[in-house]
Amino acid sequence: MTRLRIRRGVPIATTLAMLVACERPQPPRPAIGFGSVGHAAELEQLSADTQRVRIVFDSSRWGDQDMRSAVTRAERLVEEPGLIGVVGHSSSRTTLAAAPIYRRAGVPLVVPTSTSRLLREESNAFVLVPNDSIEGGYIARFAHDSLHARSAWILYINDAYGVGLRDGMRTGAEAVGIAVRAEVPYSEEGDIALLLEAHASRARPDVILLAGREKDSRVIVSELAHRMPGVPVVMGDGAGGNPISLSRVVNPRVPVYVATFWWPRVGNVRDSAFVASWRAITGEHPAPIDALKYDAAQLLVAAVEDGQRTPAQVTRWLESLGRTRAPWTGLVGPVAFTPDTRRPLVMLRPTAEAIHVAAR
């Protein structure tokens, strides 16, 4: 408690009021929780430099794709004093599992990368990226327009992300006239080669549409290089975690394309600054997921800077973007949460030398 010297003549009531004011506990600094682990520390360094917010993340060793971990992490985060919003989680599956916990706690959830259209049913989820139906349609249209594909196989990981994107790809392919000859589900821990071999008797497709993640995408490209060399593979955003993983995907016998939501635009000051800052902290080029997490965090920081101090206020603030407030501008462009808001999509073409932008 601050020691006060009581001057003669100062009314006692005033003094008591001051004492009470001094005794009153200060409200906790607004906190932003991270539902996923990757690069949280770096993001904290980037996002919390104003000291106006705290970045809270779970430093446990649990993985990002584990549903149980996501649920436990969400339960811990909602107990955090001063929590005004959460960024996360890393996958559609974990985000869908954790979103109700935040909803019940009244905490807004800004979703940077999860594409499941089921998230639209969560009233407190504010998704920065297009949903799997749009992404699947974009991939199918690219395959048709740029690769002139007429037939395709769809390989997908058997979870919410993979199945959702498969549906989008299938619908998109039907829309542009690509015949889907096979749909092959797999799991990360499974024997992907066995599954591909089981479908080897089928007709060779013009293109492989892949809804997988970094690790299994690399395995699949490697397998396809042996089984169907030359057949281009167009992957969903799950494969494009970071440039290193993209470079690992590259195989000289398989042309690879990866759909993602952000890639630095040449000459864009905001993108360049972010890339420079990221490189300064991590020594690496930022992945799209990093930019999206950064945007999500910055969005919540902007809400706090705009005077929002409670989860309910932040929720209303996010809802008002594009309605009663101007859209907030981030790395991915103007951010709003109205039904007609367009989300950016970029098609990358990683090669051994570099990562090119095939389409925006």
Partner: protein
């Protein structure tokens, strides 16, 4: 106009009863509303939340159990397929069944479930996905003919399946416990809410009871004061007033009650004075009418005897006319001040108006007031107490005279009677200054007067009340630029009433009838079909009729006796009732003509005594009185047509004597 000053103690400012009731009702409503809101907004969400939060767990249990059951079935088929790997169609079908369908692979809504179940559900969800993928791989291996690989993956799948089953058992146990716990929670909340509601309801009932008790206490004192006041008034005590304690509704009622008491007090005082004046006037009338009787009798006798000289004869006639005028005025005054028993009768309002005009007419000459008589001669009768109606008209006429007194000439007083539909109206209009505009509003309220200390402000108020009691009304209109116009209206009597009253009965008001018959100039207010005096036959005589004349005043007795003897009657004189009884005991008489007021034994006592001792003679009695007041109380003892009012013209007296004798003869023949 001046209102009586009244000094009242300062009143306590309090909430009015309406405000108190409104506050009480509002507080009760708020209390009940708060209780209901508490139940709806606090308790209900808790009871709703418990089963609502349990529902996702049940849905998740059902979903994961369904998935596990389906995978168990598919695994069994895969077991079979391992035995028959060559059945490619079966393998293709299994691959199809194991592939996630459109919109499939929706993760469990783990976040919706209770915290204790979330890890188990998450693990079960992971295990079902893993089991599905393993079975897909088994089928893929079998389709490639790699039985060993398929067997190896199937073995792993069995392990996952076993773990899944264990996990499911645990989930079901925890879910059931969770459900039971929620049920216990709901029961506890309901129990607590019931207790709290009951407690607050009892507390609220106590509060309402306390409030009601306090309200009753506040009401009790003024209501009791009002009760006591009303009891005193009903017992005739107009002196005391109720205490006005507060400026609320009961205070206002008390104040109005006191106002009413003041009105009653003034009325009672006025009526007392009026009654006393009436009694005094009756006594005076008796004393005046006796000399008038003597004078008029003597004059009549002298005129009948013949007087030498035209001047002297004319002087006697003037004396006779003035005597009649004095008698008529006295009769009107007596009628006006007589007490009334509030008995509605058929009244000719025009006649009543003329009678009232007669009463105030003595002022017209002095005040130089011109009377405009527009009274209609033939209007249907109205059913009203004649005395009260005359009182109203005299009041209006007196007001008009007062108003005209100070106004410039010409001073005109118009009296008009007219029938409008089923109402008869008497209009009294004057050319005076009229009623002040500020006064018009309060004209008919008690104590509103423009006469200063001369008036008590009750005349118009009472007049209107009297007319309204009779179904009529009194209203005011401006009369031209100057002047006032008061219209007294009374309803026309219905045909039934008129028909009933047209039966050949005697006048219902003997006093009026009796005093009317001796004086043709005095109109009867009451419309009656009572037997009128038969025309006097100048040629007839009373020869041989034995008349006992009883009067304590010798001049009156003497002049009557002289007249009767002249008409041939055999007259015996008695100085009072006792003397008359003495004569009756020793002599025979055809008729007794007696005064009513006499010392020792008055006319009524004489009548009673004769009824006992000489009933036949009692039936042949005629009575004379200078006081009409006697009839109000003694009408039951004395037949109305046997009482004559002094002074009386001898021809009327003779006709009355003949009628009595004729009736006696008729009665005897009938017997």
């Amino acid at each position: 106009m001046s209102l009586p000053a009244e000094t009242a103690p300062p009143l306590r400012r309090q909430l009015s009863l309406r405000q108190l009731l409104a506050i009480g009702i509002a507080a009760t409503a708020a209390y009940v509303g708060a209780l209901v809101l508490w139940l709806a907004l606090v308790v209900r969400p808790q009871t709703d939340a418990l089963p609502r939060d349990g529902a996702p767990a049940l849905r998740a249990v059902r979903e994961i159990t369904l998935r596990a059951t389906m995978l168990s079935g598919l695994m069994a088929q895969v077991d079979v397929a391992l035995q028959t790997p060559s059945d490619t169609a079966n393998l293709a079908l299994l691959a199809e069944q194991l592939s996630p369908g459109r919109g499939g692979a929706v993760p469990l809504s783990v976040g919706e479930t209770p915290a204790a179940l979330r890890p188990m559900f998450a693990r079960a969800d992971d295990e079902t996905t893993l089991l599905q993928n393993l079975l897909l791989e088994v089928v893929a291996a079998l389709r490639l003919g790699r039985t060993a690989r398929a067997s190896e993956r199937l073995s792993t799948a069995h392990g996952v399946h076993t773990t899944l089953q264990l996990n499911l058992s645990q989930i079901q146990r925890v879910a059931v416990e969770d459900l039971e716990q929620r049920e216990r929670g709901v029961a506890a909340i309901v129990r607590r809410a019931t207790l709290i509601s009951l407690g607050w309801s009892v507390f609220g009932a106590l509060l309402i009871g306390l409030w009601g008790w306090w309200l009753l206490r506040r009401l009790e004192r003024p209501i009791r004061a009002l009760e006591r006041g009303l009891a005193r008034v009903s017992s005739g005590d107009y002196a005391s007033e109720v205490p006005v304690l507060a400026d609320d509704e009961l205070g206002r009622v008390g104040r109005l009650f006191n106002e009413a008491i003041r009105v009653l007090r003034v009325r009672a005082r006025q009526e007392g004075r009026f009654a006393a004046a009436g009694q005094l006037l009756a006594d005076v009338a008796h004393e005046v009418n006796n000399p008038l009787m003597a004078i008029s009798g003597l004059i009549e006798t002298r005129l009948e005897d013949g007087i030498e000289g035209d001047v002297a004869r004319e002087d006697f006639r003037v004396i006779q006319r003035q005597t009649r005028r004095a008698s008529k005025l006295m009769g009107g005054l007596l009628r006006f001040v007589r007490t009334t028993d509030d008995a509605p009768q058929l009244v000719d309002v025009t006649v009543a108006a003329r009678s009232a005009v007669d009463l105030v007419s003595y002022q017209f000459g002095v005040r130089e007031i011109e009377l405009v008589d527009r009274l209609a001669p033939a209007l249907p009768p109205s059913l009203i107490d004649p005395g009260r109606f005359e009182q109203v008209l005299v009041n209006l006429l007196s007001n008009a005279v007062d108003a005209l007194r100070e106004s410039a000439r010409p001073r005109r007083l118009t009296v008009e009677s007219v029938q409008r539909d089923d109402m008869v109206e008497i209009v009294v209009a004057d050319s005076g200054p009229g009623v002040d505009a500020a006064m018009v509003e309060r004209l008919f309220q008690p104590f509103a007067t423009s006469k200063g200390t001369k008036g008590n402000g009750l005349g118009l108020y009472i007049s209107r009340q009297l007319l309204r009691d009779a179904g009529g009304d009194l209203r005011y209109e401006r009369h031209g630029v100057r002047g006032a116009r008061f219209i007294a209206s009374v309803p026309v009597a219905s045909a039934d009433v008129v028909r009933a009253a047209s039966a050949p009965v005697h006048a219902t008001s003997p006093a009026l009838d009796a005093e009317a018959r001796p004086h043709d100039a005095v109109p009867a207010l009451v419309t009656t079909v009572a037997t009128a005096a038969p025309p006097v036959d100048p040629a007839g005589t009373l020869a041989g009729i034995r008349v006992l004349v009883v009067d304590d005043e010798e001049p009156v007795r003497a002049v009557i006796a002289r007249f009767l003897r002249r008409r041939g009657a055999v007259v015996t004189e008695a100085m009072d009732g006792v003397d008359a009884l003495e004569h009756a005991a020793h002599g025979a008489f055809d008729l007794v003509l007696t005064d009513l007021r006499m010392p020792r034994m008055d006319g009524e006592q004489l009548h009673a005594a004769l009824r006992l001792r000489h009933p036949a003679l009692a039936a042949r009695m005629l009575m004379l009185s200078g006081d009409v007041m006697v009839f109000a109380d003694r009408a039951d003892a004395l037949p109305a047509d046997r009482v004559l009012l002094k002074p009386i013209e001898f021809k009327v007296l003779e006709a009355a004597i003949r009628r009595v004798l004729a009736e006696d003869v008729a009665t005897a023949r009938a017997a």
